[in-house]
């Protein structure tokens, strides 16, 4: 018989990133198996390893499960109305270009109700980071379908299967000219944290679509009831291809139909800040 010895000294209630987490707000509200804890972890790792002082980092979130992210990160944090964090972040970044403003919110928030702000912020190339957590469903309100729900997937408002085509977000962001476009899953922890670090360095709009498990919501309607079901699905179906043809990276969540991941776009383009300075020059404010 093997004796199991618990190494108590390695079990700690402290984390090396405690300074960046609002510990007093834990336990968080997210369900078992949810990917948002991993997103939080990657974000604070990216902040910690960025060259930008912590007090210059700002997070803005909207409404929904992912919208709660702002409440757990110990930096200046703003939890605003549904769909509006990008517009809020734009106002903030334009008057304070020294701040590193990151929006972390969900698919329903950022590209369904907030889709208009999403496309226009990319078009303007405002220098913010948008980390969109895509769980294919409205989790907090009770698992209704949205603009990222795969065709045919079931939800509380698509009991016969979703009759709409989902967004192909990397294609959309790239088509609008975003200087940085990436997609990772919460299984790809290191790549995700690295992509976030890159996004913080990018001049201009940096977009990461984060595919995240939702076993309690999306999964319970689509035969993926455990967090591990998603992790296995990601393991078996994800392909990393940084040079993928973005026309072909839409997600169906059907076994055998791959989820393409990668840092798809890395390019330079004048930002809104650069272009606004040209306005200031023409107006006589700047020489």
């Amino acid at each position: 018989m093997v004796e199991v010895q618990v190494l108590r000294e390695v079990v700690s209630s402290e984390s090396p990133r405690d300074d960046l987490i609002r510990r007093e707000r834990f336990p968080h509200i997210w369900c078992p198996g949810c990917g948002l804890g991993t997103v939080l972890k990657c974000y604070v790792e990216a902040i910690a390893s960025s060259d930008i002082p912590r007090d210059k980092h700002v997070i803005v979130s909207g409404i929904g499960c992912s919208g709660r992210m702002a409440g757990y990160v110990n930096i200046d944090s703003y939890h605003v109305t549904h769909g509006r964090p990008i517009a809020f972040a734009e106002g903030m970044k334009i008057v304070r270009p020294d701040l590193e403003v990151t929006v972390i919110s969900g698919d329903g928030d950022l590209v369904t109700i907030g889709g208009n702000h999403f496309i226009h912020a990319i078009r303007r190339n405002v220098d913010i980071n948008v980390f969109l957590v895509n769980n294919f469903i409205y989790g907090m309100t009770g698992n209704q379908y949205g603009s990222t729900t795969p065709l045919g997937a079931r939800s509380s408002t698509s009991p016969y299967g979703c009759p709409e085509y989902p967004f192909n977000l990397p294609l959309l962001a790239a088509a609008l000219g975003a200087p940085f476009v990436a997609r990772w899953t919460t299984l790809h922890v290191r790549q995700l944290a690295e992509a976030m670090k890159k996004a913080m360095k990018v001049k201009g709009f940096a977009f990461i679509e984060i595919i995240s498990p939702c076993p309690v919501g999306f999964g319970s309607y689509n035969e993926m009831r455990e967090g591990m079901d998603f992790i296995k699905f990601f393991l078996e179906n994800c392909i990393v291809d940084h040079n993928a043809d973005l026309n072909k990276v839409a997600i169906s969540m059907r076994p055998g139909d791959p989820i393409i991941l990668g840092n798809f776009v890395e390019r330079e383009a004048p930002t809104y800040h650069d272009l606004e300075r040209e306005v200031f020059r023409k107006a006589g404010w700047l020489k």
Partner: protein, 384 residues
């Protein structure tokens, strides 16, 4: 905004002949507005057009957003970063901004929203006047909150009240609405810009103490001191009902304390916020209570009624919300009848009825048109 007003390229003290909407924009510049976000809409466009030219001259930010929702949210982002911010719109855009007015009230972010009222409902008559947003200005966003709304009736008042709107929003950390109308916005009139030393400019009170002791939504005072993004306090702001730390809370005490404070900071300061002007009120039997463009024809009507021997008076409200209860109540104690003149089917008449005991009759004019003095005079004659 460390620079002195004299050093900036602002409208110089002096006398001008100017359009109301442009006077509003110049007032915002003097008040220290550093961020303007807007979306094209008639009849407020001259404000945005003027700001788009003038803001960059001062190194300040003008942006045309994708809609009025984005405009109203963007000014809150700028305000959270510590600068004074505004937007201007009209009815349909004002409707889209309602969500953010609630957010501004909840996060306690100062901002100014100018609504140049046009004829409604819906698209209505975009180029014609209306006064149908009185109740929307006060009650348009869901839930309990209070705000301040000023209503100018001249170019000068549009200028003065825009500066006042910034001051009040900074003082109380609330959204403030300037409820103008198409006529006042488009009218050309006399504007006197006083010496800068005579212009009162208020900036929000900031917290500078130690980080550990900072309670962003402290209930110790009605208006807690502000910190901006990047100040190093690691603030959390949420539209969820929150405790004094700013963290979401479901507790009855937190909800009560927060909502009471949001409401009481306006109610307890109401007397200082009321602005109004009385005309021929000393012995008035009939009092016309009115605001905005309607006050202009009402004054002429009251003068003509006086010439006919009718003891008519007028109370022009410059502050619409919080409703100036005391002056209206006093008017009601001495008058035999009160008339409420407005370009709608009866909105301001309701708070008037709440506070006076004498008979109250509405003088309502078809939406889209400013009432001529004769129309209001007929109303006065009919009441005696």
């Amino acid at each position: 905004m460390d620079q002195k007003l004299e050093e900036l390229k602002l409208l110089k003290p002096g006398t001008y002949f100017m359009m109301g909407n442009i006077a509003c924009a110049e007032a915002a510049l003097i008040a220290g507005c550093e961020f303007y976000a807007g979306y094209p809409i008639t009849p407020s466009n001259e404000i945005a057009e003027h700001m788009s030219r003038r803001m960059p001259e001062l190194g300040r930010h003008f942006i045309q957003m994708e809609d009025e929702i984005a405009s109203a949210v963007a000014i809150l982002g700028a305000s959270a970063a510590g600068v004074k911010a505004m937007t201007a719109t009209s009815g349909p855009g004002f409707s889209l901004m309602m969500e953010s007015i609630g957010l501004a009230a909840m996060l306690e972010l100062p901002c100014v929203i100018v609504d140049v009222q046009r004829a409604g409902p819906s698209t209505g008559i975009p180029t014609f006047v209306g006064q149908g947003d009185v109740m929307q200005a006060r009650w348009g966003s869901h839930g309990d909150y209070e705000l301040v709304a000023y209503a100018p009736s001249s170019v000068q008042e549009f200028f003065d009240l825009t500066i006042e709107a910034f001051n009040t929003s900074e003082l109380l950390r609330i959204p403030v609405i300037v409820l103008a109308d198409e006529v006042v916005g488009h009218m050309y009139g006399k504007l006197v810009v006083p010496e800068y030393s005579k212009i009162n400019i208020v900036n929000r009170k900031k917290y500078t103490g130690p980080r550990e002791k900072y309670l962003p939504y402290s209930c110790e005072t009605l208006v807690p001191p502000f910190v901006a993004a990047g100040d190093g306090y690691r603030i959390h702001m949420t539209g969820l009902t929150h405790d004094e730390r700013g963290y979401p809370s479901l507790e009855i005490d937190d909800s009560r304390k927060l909502i009471e404070r949001l409401v009481m900071k306006v109610r307890k300061n109401a007397k200082n916020l009321w602005k109004y002007e009385s005309y021929f009120m000393d012995d008035a039997d009939v009092v016309v209570i009115t605001f905005g463009v309607t006050a202009r024809s009402s004054l002429e009507a009251v003068k003509r009624a006086r010439a006919e021997g009718i003891k008519a008076g007028m109370l022009k409200l410059l502050t619409i919300w919080p409703f100036p209860e005391d002056p209206v109540r006093i008017a009601g104690e001495y008058a035999k009848r009160i008339l409420v003149a407005e370009i709608n089917m009866g909105q301001l008449i309701h708070p008037v009825k709440e506070v006076v005991r004498c008979p109250v009759v509405g003088i309502n004019y078809p939406v889209g048109y400013a009432p001529p003095p004769e129309y209001i005079l007929d109303g006065i004659r009919a009441s005696v």
